[in-house]
Structure formats: C-alpha cells, structure tokens
C-alpha cells in the first residue's frame, strides 16, 4: 500500500512548491505508471497555469466573489414570464439571413444595436446600461475616420463610480434581450445545442501612454443572465457570480499592428433571458484611478447564435 494515497492533495501541494523531495519522488512514480494520476496531474497543472495566465486572469479582476447571502437577482422572473415580458418589449431584432455552414449547424445573426457604431458620434454615455439596445459604460467615444465610425477607448474607470474601486479597464456594455430568441427556437425543449458567439474587430494605434502599459489588451466578453435588464447594473459587479454562462476572448496588439477580429463564445442555456455584451480594454495593472488609453479602437461588433445537433461526440475547435 502506498504511503501517499491522497494523490489529489499531493498534486495540489506539488503545484504550490510544497511537496518534499520524497513526496515528489512518489508522485513521479505514480505519474509514470498510473494513467488516472497522470491525467489528474495534467488537469490540475493546466488549471494552475491558466489561473496564472494574464489573459485569463483578466476575468478574475472583474469577477467578484460569490456572495453567501441572498442572490442579488433572486427576484429574477421565471423563464416563462420573462419570455412574455421580452416578447412584449420586443427589443431583440433577429436577422433574416441564414448561413448554413454544414448540414449539422445553422447560424443566425442576432441584432446588436449600433454594432458598427455608424449611428452615433461623440462620447458614449457613462454608466451601466439600464435597458436593452444601447452602448454605455466607461469613458469612450465614437470617432469618424475616412468615413467610417469606430469606438475609441479613452480611459479606464470604475463603471459603478465606487470610490477607490478598481479602475484598470474601460468597458463599453450593451444588454441584449434573448427572450424572443429562446422562445422562437424553443431552446428548453430542443435537442440541439445553442452557442452564442460575440465578435469584434480590434485595432491599436500608438498612444502617449504606450510605454506605461506594456500588458494592455482588448477583449470582448459575453455574460448570460436570467434577470431583468435594470437589475444587472444595480447589482454590478456582484451579479457576475450569478451569470448563467460567461465567455471572454482577449487580444493583445502592438501599436500599429494590423487589426484583428476576436470571438468569445458561450453555451446559450435555456434559462438565460438576456446577454450582457462588452468590448473593453484592460490596462492589466491594478489601479483605482483612471488610466489614459487612447490607442485602442473597436468596430463591427457582431453577435451570432449557432444551433448544432447534440452529437454523441463533441466536436471541439
């Protein structure tokens, strides 16, 4: 019988540099011969690595702790009622053009209000959006370049206005009603799997603060909630812990580098009644005061829903 029967505990200790030479030796032998321990070690090490990954740790900054008290959106309506409310509000526009990638999947564009920023010019309203279909958030502005309008991030801020709150990112948000979509596709009873993909094209130009921001990155994020739209801003950011699903994709560009489109995705769970989408730039350094940005731009924000049949084998990109 082994002296180290609890391999999970030993794996975790080793990842933190807490294992002794003897323990590391025993773990090594087990990794060499025991496929389960090898697989468990690999998974644990991957999670440890991912948590330390600056790209993923971006999420941590905006992900507040889960409260042990009453959920902040406990008053969220049951799905059926929310669907009716959403249908009445009718703010979800669904495109009519379908793209069929293969016999097994279908894609449909979901309307993002002013996703290409052509319908506005000047500063984006400050603060968290309280209703569907409008961009608002931290200091940013829509500017026109060669006849094309594009969003420029100006400086980081704390969107809730909390004194001494974290201000290392500039987020621009929009709430999107999913209730019509859920109802129309009957996602609750469907045999298919539904995925939402949020994509945006980022670009970076030189800015005076570039030297102070070596780790700056842009990203697009999608959160799904079962909630009323005005509840998200009221409970932000604690509400994040109650998200039904979250997807995030980060892009790091060098000044002057060719722009790139990034796509974040998440499973569309049937209980989700709204999507909170955001495009953002994170200075990736702790700060409670605004940091001037200026060099990051985003354009052409698109949201797509993809329906795929549930397959016995999951296809992973």
């Amino acid at each position: 019988m082994s002296d180290f029967p609890d391999w999970q505990t030993l794996i975790q200790k080793h990842l933190d540099g807490q294992s002794t030479d003897e323990e590391a030796g025993a773990l090594s032998k087990e990794i060499e011969t025991n496929a389960k321990v090898r697989s468990d070690y690999l998974k644990a090490a991957r999670i440890h690595g991912a948590l330390g990954d600056e790209v993923i740790s971006f999420d941590l900054e905006s992900t507040p702790p889960r409260s042990s008290g009453t959920p902040s959106i406990s008053w969220a309506k049951p799905l059926a009622a929310a669907v009716i409310a959403g249908a009445f509000v009718g703010l979800l526009g669904v495109g009519v053009v379908w793209a069929i990638n293969s016999p097994k999947s279908e894609e449909r564009m979901v309307s993002v209000s002013n996703g290409n920023f052509e319908d506005s010019l000047g500063p984006v309203p400050l603060g968290f959006p309280s209703g569907f279909g409008n961009w608002s958030g931290d200091p940013a502005e829509v500017i026109e370049e060669d006849g094309n309008r594009i969003l420029r991030f100006l400086e980081t801020a704390n969107v809730t206005g909390k004194p001494n709150g974290g201000a290392s990112a500039s987020n621009v948000f929009q709430l999107i009603d999913l209730s019509n979509l859920q109802q129309e596709w009957d996602t609750e009873n469907s045999d298919s799997q539904f995925t939402l993909e949020l994509s945006a094209r980022f670009r970076r130009e030189s800015a005076p603060t570039d030297a102070e921001l070596p780790k700056i990155a842009g990203s697009c994020t999608i959160h799904l909630y079962q909630a009323e739209p005005d509840a998200i801003g009221k409970a932000w950011p604690q509400v994040i812990s109650e998200a039904v699903a979250i997807g995030n994709k980060v892009v790091r560009l060098m000044p002057g580098e060719e722009g790139r489109r990034v796509t974040a995705s998440c499973i569309l769970e049937p209980e989700a009644t709204l999507a909170l989408i955001s495009v953002n730039v994170n200075a990736r350094k702790p700060s409670t005061t605004p940091i001037k940005l200026g060099g990051y731009f985003v354009d052409d924000v698109q949201l797509t829903v993809i329906r795929q049949p549930n397959l016995p084998v999951r296809v992973v990109k």
Binding site: R46, G52, L60
Partner: protein
C-alpha cells in the same frame, strides 16, 4: 540584413511569440509549476527562439517549433536548480506525451474557467485573485486574511480542485 528587414523580422517574431506565450507558459508549468521559475524558463526560451528565428520554417506552426525550445530550456533549468522538489525526468516525459494527445481539457478551461470562477465562495475567490492575479505570496495573504499560511494554501488548493470538478461537470453537461 537591411534595417527594415530586421525590424520586420523582429515584429513578426514578437507577434508570434506574444500569440504563443500563454500556451507555452502553461505547458512549462506542467513540469515547473512555480510561476516565477516558469517565467524564467520562458524568458530563456524567448532568447533562444530569437537567436534561431532565421531557421524557423514559417509554413509550419510557430508554437510547435517553439515548444521544442521550451522543453530544452525546461530540462536545463531542472538540471541546474534545486530550489523546489521536482518531478522525475520520466514523469515529465510521460506528462509531455500525454499533453500532446489531450487538448480537449485545455479548450474546456478556456470555455468554462470564467464561469467556474464565478461559482467559488467569496473567501476562495478572494484568495485565488490575491494569489494569481495580484501575485501575492501565501504569507502576504495570511497577514491580510488573518489566517495561517497553511490555511491559505489549503484554501487555494481546495479551490483549484473545485474548479477542476466544475470544469469537468461543464464538459459532461455540454456532451449530454
């Protein structure tokens, strides 16, 4: 080499390295979990890659080429450093072999980690953030939280276990 070509080459290299760096660091951390050590190996790897960049065949994936260098630098590091207990050469080889054939969990981490982080308790979330994002040592967290260093380690380790369970649950859910 003309200056312009050199600058283009440098930019091309930097871009490829930036794209591959997160995946490389995570792979290095399988053999060398300590983050500062892994970053040191990454830095040595980057220098080696730049020196040999002229030999890189751009028709092939950069990361595959770069990972070969990372493995060499990892071995060099392990041979010269004994600050922390290490896995055996054979164990690392077994892990590297398995890594090549098990990418699904990596994709799952990318897809579900944020969701699973949101499901941690307040205490766990605060510690994970402090340890990983703010780069605080367990000793510093111990002072901040008013708990023993051992308790801090245990909470962080238990939290990672919870994240693993959550991600595996999300994989099963997606496959159901």
């Amino acid at each position: 080499m003309p200056v312009a070509d050199s600058e283009d080459n440098h930019e091309h290299f930097t871009r490829l390295l930036l794209e591959s760096e997160p995946a490389m660091l995570r792979s290095i951390q399988v053999a060398v979990p300590h983050r500062a050590d892994a970053r040191e190996i990454m830095q040595e790897t980057a220098v080696a890659l730049w020196r040999q960049f002229d030999t890189f065949d751009s028709s092939r994936p950069f990361i595959n080429w770069a990972m070969g260098f990372a493995r060499i630098e990892t071995r060099r590091f392990l041979a010269r450093e004994s600050r922390r207990a290490q896995l055996s050469e054979k164990a690392i080889e077994a892990l590297e072999l398995e890594m090549e054939h098990s990418t699904e969990f990596d994709y799952a981490i990318e897809s579900h980690l944020a969701t699973c982080l949101g499901k941690l308790s307040e205490k766990s979330s605060r510690l994970i953030k402090g340890y990983y994002h703010e780069g605080r040592s367990p000793e510093a967290l111990s002072k901040r939280e008013g708990r023993t260093v051992e308790a801090i380690y245990k909470t962080i380790q238990r939290s990672r276990g919870e994240l693993q369970t959550c991600i595996e649950r999300q994989i099963r859910k997606a496959q159901a």
